[in-house]
């Protein structure tokens, strides 16, 4: 079945969108016309209305525009992989691990490579957690080790081996020129070289990551903005159990 859709502004299928951008030219009637033509001729939008033109500085001009598009997309054909574990909550996760796995789940987490930010991994690990949702360190059935930021890949993997981790959680914050992807791939490559890729679940999270991108980067799962510790804990409870059928009771 094909279901083509386009943006909704004021009426079904009108295709209206709002845009803003800057051009490297001084503000002038010619600049406004340049912006309009750019949207209409170069980008193919209809009904172009440049609603604001302002000098962001002497040499740069900022525009706000409303346009409509003729383009549409077949919604039915779009598929995206998602982490579909339900959120069992703090108590639910602990009960499941106790009942179904019967041992602690061990996780190590950190931010490898260039990035010095610990805010992401702290939100998932720290006792206090994030947005009222307790962090993994608080879960009695998790042993959670937060290794901080700027970890060397080998140190990260060594710690995971030493602690007999089930999962490695990677946080990526800085995304300028896709440095996060480079660092994320680097860890997986290193794990493969050391024959460790299949020993651990590799999970990645960050403000500019999705499950789909995580899979593309060679990870088992990815968590994007708004993820709570209990989302990650629920996924781990199910996935570790799935991978350890023998120890399950």
């Amino acid at each position: 079945m094909v279901k083509r859709i386009r943006p909704y502004g004021d009426r079904t299928d009108d295709g209206v969108m709002q845009l803003s951008f800057t051009l490297p030219i001084p503000a002038s009637p010619r600049a406004r016309e340049t912006a309009r033509l750019f949207l209409e001729k170069e980008l193919g939008f209809k009904d172009v209305k440049v609603s604001a033109m302002e000098a962001a500085s002497r040499d740069y001009t900022y525009f706000v525009a409303y346009v409509s598009t003729q383009a549409s997309i077949d919604y039915e054909s779009v598929q995206v992989p998602v982490v579909d574990t339900p959120n069992y909550g703090f108590a639910g996760v602990n009960q499941r691990i106790e009942a179904e796995l019967g041992r602690h789940i061990v996780v190590v987490g950190g931010n490898n490579g260039f990035d010095s930010h610990t805010v992401g991994i702290d939100a998932i690990f720290n006792m206090k957690g994030f947005a009222g949702d307790y962090g993994l360190e608080r879960y009695p059935w998790f042993k959670a080790f937060n290794l901080g930021a700027q970890l060397k890949d080998d140190d990260f993997l060594d710690r995971a081996v030493e602690l007999k981790a089930d999962a490695i959680l990677v946080s990526k914050i800085v995304t300028q020129r896709d440095i996060h992807k480079e660092d994320a791939r680097g860890l997986i490559e290193r794990a493969k070289t050391r024959q460790l890729r299949d020993r651990f679940l590799f999970i990645i999270g960050g403000p500019r990551l999705s499950h789909k991108e995580a899979l593309e980067l060679g990870y088992d799962a990815g968590f994007g903005p708004g993820t709570k510790p209990s989302d990650v804990a629920s996924y781990l409870a199910d996935e570790v159990k799935r991978r350890n059928p023998k120890v399950a009771t």
């Binding site: 800057t22 500085s57 260039f114 610990t118 805010v119 206090k128 300028q176």
Partner: protein, 523 residues
């Protein structure tokens, strides 16, 4: 101005306690030096440039001294010994010094007391020259600043962070034209943990641009030019933090920067830098800052990103008292202390904005002569730029209503990417509108006696006082170990850079400790 009835006696007690806390660590500081402090001494004495493989000469020299176990005497002393042997340019010294210091310098001939005095006097002469140069640059900044004026408070502070210093200059000029009064160049994410300062102009960075002396010079030159065009002096900020805190303070003083992010505890808590290292480094960096008239920006705003902004709001205040006391011990004046705080309470909590207003007003009153710096929401920002813009607008209103000195403009793309030109422009337009539209709001309102805003402030003061009583009792290092600040625990010998801390010898020589007098008029 609308004021809150804050108990002066409690505030005074906080300051007494903070002074005790600072004094305890000062005893430690006065008996130690670090590789970063000694590199700074060398840079002050003109050791610039890089050796093989691009390593700064100051690093090469200090590493040799440290390896030979003689750093406790002070790098300046060994430099003086090299001079005495007729080696006087830094590159030759870098080649010669490893030979001189072999076996812990035991092969070097002993000098008579008279000769020893001459060695030190040679270095002192150079050091006085260096201090005169810094004085000249400080006065040059003062002249420009007075001639062109900096504009009204709250001062509009924005960041640029392209990774390329030349693009940064383009964006800084654009921001200045849109009303910005202060430009901060954000550093590349990895730099705080580098134990050296990169050299030269840089065009590649991640999440920011490397802080180098040449980058400082390029940006200050661009802003001097823009300041003259606009008839308004644009201030420049960078980071004196991480493992090269004092070195960057020197570079900033030399290149006429106006402000530095500089905090006595930030590196310990948020970058896991060793606490002994940071405490010693912050002192020498602040001696340079006190001398050169730079305004520091402290990092208490960060506390509320890891700890809860409602429950732990008081830790901002207690840390500000400690930062203030430590900065005073280094000679900084109140007018140089841009104590930081932030608008980070969960915005969906009922009356969250009233609590923001309360703490902003409280900090304004407790630090009346300080150029306090209010930081925008980050933790609860999302990619919904339209809502974020509204949230920032409320922050702008709190800023102007409470008369903050410096405000980092909130940009609606926080949590997404470093500000693009149009994002920054939209943010400044909102700031310009609200600062003007509500310019005298603080003079026109009063806080209800016994109301929510007042009670919240009283609670924060009481809790901060309890905190400080505790920290004074156990000591700052132990308190950090307990996780008093930012819910983060650190150990005395843990973290990065502890191996760069050295006990001073009884005859430790650092000519600048005596020469760097605090500026009478910083700016």
């Amino acid at each position: 101005m609308a004021t809150l009835p804050i108990d002066d006696a409690k505030v005074a007690r906080c300051r007494v306690l903070a002074r005790q806390i600072a004094q305890q660590v000062q005893d430690y500081i006065d008996h130690h030096t670090t590789v970063a402090v000694e590199r700074t001494v060398l840079r002050l004495l003109g050791v610039d440039g890089v050796g093989e493989h691009g390593a700064p000469l100051s690093n090469l020299l200090v590493d040799v001294m440290h390896k030979q176990g003689v750093l406790g005497r002070g790098a300046a002393y060994w430099l003086g010994r090299a001079f005495r042997l007729g080696v006087d340019n830094p590159k030759d010294i870098a080649l010669t010094l490893p030979k001189l210091l072999v076996n812990g310098a035991k092969d070097l001939p002993e000098l008579t007391p008279q000769e020893e005095a001459e060695v030190c006097e040679d270095v002192m002469r150079m050091a006085r020259g260096a201090v005169e140069e810094l004085t000249r640059r400080r006065e040059q900044r003062k002249d420009l600043r007075r001639q062109l004026h900096i504009g009204d408070n709250p001062q509009r502070y924005v960041i640029v962070a392209t990774g390329n210093i030349h693009e940064d200059a383009i964006q800084a000029r654009a921001a200045a034209q849109a009303g910005a009064q202060i430009i901060a160049v954000i550093r590349s994410t990895a730099q705080s943990l580098l134990d050296y300062v990169p050299h030269g102009a840089t065009t590649e960075g991640f999440g920011g641009t490397y802080a180098t002396q040449e980058n400082f010079r390029i940006m200050r030159e661009a802003l001097d030019d823009e300041s003259r065009q606009l008839g308004r002096y644009i201030q420049l900020t960078n980071y004196s933090s991480g493992l090269c805190m004092p070195e960057i303070a020197f570079m900033a003083a030399h290149e006429r920067l106006d402000m530095l992010l500089n905090d006595s505890m930030y590196g310990i808590l948020f970058r896991d830098i060793n606490m002994c290292r940071t405490l010693v480094d912050q002192y020498f960096s602040r001696r340079i800052i006190a001398f050169s008239g730079i305004i520091i920006n402290t990092g208490e705003d960060n506390y509320l990103t890891t700890a809860d902004a409602v429950d732990k709001g008081h830790t901002v205040l207690s840390s500000q008292f400690i930062n203030e006391a430590l900065a005073h011990l280094a000679g900084c004046k109140d007018m140089q202390l841009g104590l930081g705080h932030a608008h980070e309470i969960n915005p969906w909590v009922e009356d969250s904005w009233l609590m923001e207003l309360s703490s902003a007003q409280l900090i304004r009153q407790v630090f009346p002569n300080h150029p306090i710096k209010f930081m925008p929401p980050t933790k609860h920002m999302t990619g919904d730029i339209f809502w974020s813009h509204v949230y920032d607008a409320m922050f702008n209103l709190a800023t102007v209503a409470t008369g903050q000195t410096i405000q980092l403009a909130g940009v609606m793309t926080e949590a997404m990417h470093t500000p693009l030109m149009m994002d920054r422009y939209a943010a400044l337009k909102s700031v310009n509108y609200i600062f003007n539209a509500a310019k005298h709001l603080g003079e026109e309102i009063e806080f209800k006696r016994g109301g929510r805003i007042e009670k919240r402030a009283m609670h924060v003061v009481d809790t901060a006082l309890t905190d400080l009583e505790h920290v004074a009792e156990v000591g700052l290092m132990a308190a950090i170990g307990e996780g008093v600040f930012a819910d983060t625990r650190r150990t005395v010998k843990g973290g990065k850079g502890f191996d760069g801390v050295v006990e001073r010898d009884p005859d430790y020589f650092n000519p600048f400790l005596g020469l760097l007098e605090p500026a009478e008029e910083p700016y």
